[in-house]
Amino acid sequence: MKKRIGALILLLISIAVLLIGIKMGQIEETSNKGNLICLDCIGIT
């Protein structure tokens, strides 16, 4: 039971961190990064 409650608390913390990231506009940053061709991934630098 203790482990399950621990996991539930961890889930709530994770969701809180996720919401902080969303509020800080990190989805837009992710989108901006993803919308550029990654030359490093291709092997061009």
Partner: protein, 296 residues
């Protein structure tokens, strides 16, 4: 609802369901087939989504962003990746490492190539720790060199999914190729060959995403359970396991990808999959491992 879930998972169809899950996920994550008409790659709001699977965001078909590429980007710009940490930990706490077994397109490729008949080899388990080294080196060097070192010098996913397609249809990239592409191409070929002979060699030894997600196997809602009374320690679970682990030794193994093959493969019917204590995958009949599952 609980009865429906129980009925849905409590038959011998888990391996088929797993294959369907991986194929379906591949088509969703890499669903930008408009690329056939217009040789470019998807650019849109869906790239703001990241999932804890290794799938290069520069792949022409990709709708989502790669978490490892994103992690390196945030380290480069010196920002704490709250969004990424939140996504990975939320999914990790709920499903553990199950996304590696049910969603990851690169895992699917490894599973498909391992189906090619022939002599199969086992990777020494000591090499499984290499992925933690890869993760550590990736984080340290990304901060120190201000560069996505994993993507740049190593990642075979990027070479296969992004490098090759872009070089094939964008001739302007070809004169810009450096020795780094040669290195990455050689690594990709080595991995592709290894995929035929060993079980998920990239996942077991090199994937930083798996190294992060594996930690959640200890606490996740989705768990494996082994009955000590029923288990005969025959180790068939290791034979059928795509990660080559003996789940009876440690049901919370950091490398378990929750695919459920061992649940179906166990001749003693000793293994179950549970979600917050509720059994969601168990067998109704005594199974015989399929020949294709016991190769190697």
């Amino acid at each position: 609802m609980r009865n429906f879930i129980n009925k849905f998972f409590s038959h011998n169809n888990l391996p088929q369901l797993n294959w369907f899950g991986k194929m379906f996920s591949f088509l969703i994550i890499n669903g930008y087939w408009g690329v056939i008409k217009n040789p470019t790659f998807y650019q849109g709001p869906l790239k703001g989504i990241t999932l804890p699977v290794l799938n290069c965001y520069s792949c022409p078909l990709a709708y989502t962003s790669c978490p490892i590429g994103l992690m390196q980007h945030f380290l480069e710009i010196r920002l704490v990746p709250y969004y990424l940490i939140g996504v990975i930990s939320t999914i990790g706490v709920i499903f553990g490492q199950a996304t590696c077994g049910w969603v990851c397109p690169f895992g699917l490729l490894q599973d498909i190539l391992y189906k090619i008949p022939g002599r199969k080899l086992r990777i020494p388990h000591k090499l499984y720790y290499m992925k933690y080294l890869f993760l550590l080196v990736t984080i340290v060097l990304s901060i120190w060199m201000v560069s996505p070192v994993f993507c740049k010098y190593f990642c075979p996913v990027g070479t296969l999914e992004a490098g090759l397609p872009h070089i094939i249809w964008a001739p302007e990239f070809r004169p810009l190729l450096t020795w780094i592409f040669g290195l990455k191409f050689a690594l990709m070929i080595i991995f592709l060959l290894l995929f035929v002979f060993t079980k998920r060699p990239f996942c077991t030894t090199s994937c930083p995403m798996g190294a992060i997600l594996g930690g959640f196997n200890k606490v996740s809602f989705l768990q494996m359970h082994v009955s000590a009374y029923k288990c005969t320690k025959c180790d068939i679970c290791r034979t059928v396991c795509p990660m080559d682990i003996s789940i009876w030794k440690n049901p919370k193994d950091l490398d378990c990808i929750r695919c459920g093959r061992c649940v179906v493969g166990c001749p003693a019917n000793a293994i179950e999959m549970t979600f917050r204590g509720v059994k969601i995958a168990k067998l109704n009949v005594n199974p015989t491992p399929r020949k294709s599952d016991t190769q190697g």
